[in-house]
């Protein structure tokens, strides 16, 4: 049909761009990952390596450590964000004087460049003039040095992520809460259900799709974190906050071990897709139960 051709014509620039800068890298990285390729070593060109690069990954302690650290970080920070976000969203459902102002200020971190968020937290925690180490020392006698103590660095990175992203969780859950039908809640109250019962047996199940969506988006974002952490701790001290993204950026790319780096990139991508897929299944299950 002639008119169908016009439809494809309007769609094609989008498809071409996505194919070239979105899909082609997939194929290319798959190809490169099968070779031994380090242009700045003595060896010439690309040598066929088969699955050797992937075999190396399984025994790469630094890589596995950073995977584990990334998982721990993502789990803790997203759990905190969901709990805090849910609590705060519930306080915003009913209108009260000043709500709009609180909300507007509260979402400021959302539009800040992640690298600037990292800079902000760096300024807060610099030994010597940052207020956090100063007051922790003055009031509690805690010696706070991000560059020295691994635990403090890890916790600070989590707190930074919670500061940055809880507003997003709150707003999204708030949108879900606002869209929720009011009748079942009112009916339950008439029937004498207490607050906890309403929350446990009505609010949570009805919010499940939105909760899972937020969990999904936040988990994906937390697993990909680079900018903020790079700016705040640069992966340190040692490798305490060297998450997988930073590991690739700081260790793999500068080594110009392209084949191996490609294999690692693909494996990370694979883990992400599997996780995506599991969460999608969970979402679909919840969707089915509701029907």
């Amino acid at each position: 049909m002639r008119s169908n051709r016009m439809g494809w014509g309007l769609l094609s620039p989008t498809l071409v761009i996505l194919a070239v800068v979105g899909f082609l890298p997939f194929i290319y990285v798959l190809y490169v990952s099968l070779f031994d390729w380090n242009p700045f070593s003595n060896q010439l060109g690309m040598l066929w390596a088969g699955v050797n690069n992937y075999r190396r990954l399984v025994f790469d302690g630094a890589f596995l450590d950073s995977l584990w650290r990334t998982g721990l970080f993502a789990f803790v920070s997203v759990a905190l964000e969901l709990a805090l976000g849910f609590l705060l969203a519930q306080t915003l459902v009913k209108s009260f004087p000043g709500r709009t102002i609180f909300r507007t200020i509260y979402v400021l971190p959302l539009v800040m460049a992640p690298i600037a968020v990292g800079a902000t937290w760096r300024l807060l925690t610099i030994p010597g003039f940052g207020p956090i180490p100063y007051y922790l020392d003055k009031w509690f006698g805690i010696d706070f040095r991000l560059g020295t103590f691994a635990d403090q660095a890890f916790i600070t990175v989590i707190l930074m992520d919670v500061w940055h992203w809880t507003p997003f969780v709150t707003l999204t859950l708030l949108a879900g809460l606002t869209a929720m039908p009011k009748e079942p809640l009112e009916q339950a109250q008439v029937d004498g259900a207490n607050r906890w019962q309403v929350f446990r047996y009505l609010t949570i199940p009805m919010m499940m799709p939105v909760l899972l969506t937020v969990l999904f988006i936040r988990l994906m974002d937390a697993l990909r974190i680079v900018d903020e952490v790079y700016m705040l701790t640069n992966g340190g001290p040692g490798t305490a906050t060297q998450f997988i993204g930073i590991h690739i950026y700081r260790v793999v790319v500068p080594k110009t071990d392209y084949g191996y780096g490609s294999a690692m990139s693909l494996l990370v991508l694979y883990f992400t897709i599997v996780l995506c897929w599991l969460l999608f299944i969970a979402l679909a299950q919840v969707g089915k139960q509701r029907e």
């Binding site: 169908n4 494809w8 769609l11 800068v21 539009v111 003039f129 606002t178 990139s265």
Partner: protein, 284 residues
Amino acid sequence: MKTSSFSKALGWIGLYGLWIVMTIITIVPIYWMVVVSARSRVELFDAPTLLIKSFYAPNYIKPLTDPVFQRYLVNSLIVATSNALLVTILALMATYALSRWKLQGSDNIFFWTITQRMAPPAAFVLPMFLLFTRVFKIGDWTMFDTQIGLILLYCVFNLPFAVWLMKGIMDGIPVELDEAAFVDGATRSTVLTRIIVPLVAPGLAITFILSWIFAWNEYLFAANLTSVNARTITTGLAAFVSVTGTNWGEMAAVATIAILPALIFLVFVQRYIVTGLTFGAVKE
């Protein structure tokens, strides 16, 4: 429900207390950055206070008059604006096509574009670097370290979301409007520019702003795919860390400049930020 006025008052105090604390927690880190940007090196190492006693202008003047930093700023402006424009126009065309024609397989296409948005950028840094330096080249010219490279690359992140956002808006415009115009002898392009565009203009503005903010804020790819000519402001900001004896006041000033445009834009898109960030999955 029986609620005594005492517990009601307690509830109000709790509510306001909570939100005042949240506001302070949100504002203080950002405010501290502005405070640092207004202080000289010597003042910084006094006990930390939140008062701005004087304004130490050189923190701002030095980067703003530095040609290197000026180039970063201009690059960021060019890349963010061109990318947002490109994304908005492409999304308009694509969603018009998707909502007015039944195109086979188009659902699948947009499913895999989401996975691209979700993919860890760190996994793509290396392949993009290799493609930009070794594959996308014409003679001596490579896509590495060019504005056009970044403009096209950011489409990967912005286009899928823009299409999802615009699709919902476009579907809301009845086809009868198109058909009535055809009866009056209008062509497709007149319908698109004269009827559709004015109707979806608010959606286009939101798409533009959210894309602009993303492109302006992006760091990882900008850092790895540029070296001198196409560096953006975020890479300029990150460069402060690696330099020994960082001038913190100047870094704070640059960071303040970097977040300013997004904060201004926030006023316009605040209501749509949830839709934007959840990819249209949750509407507000």
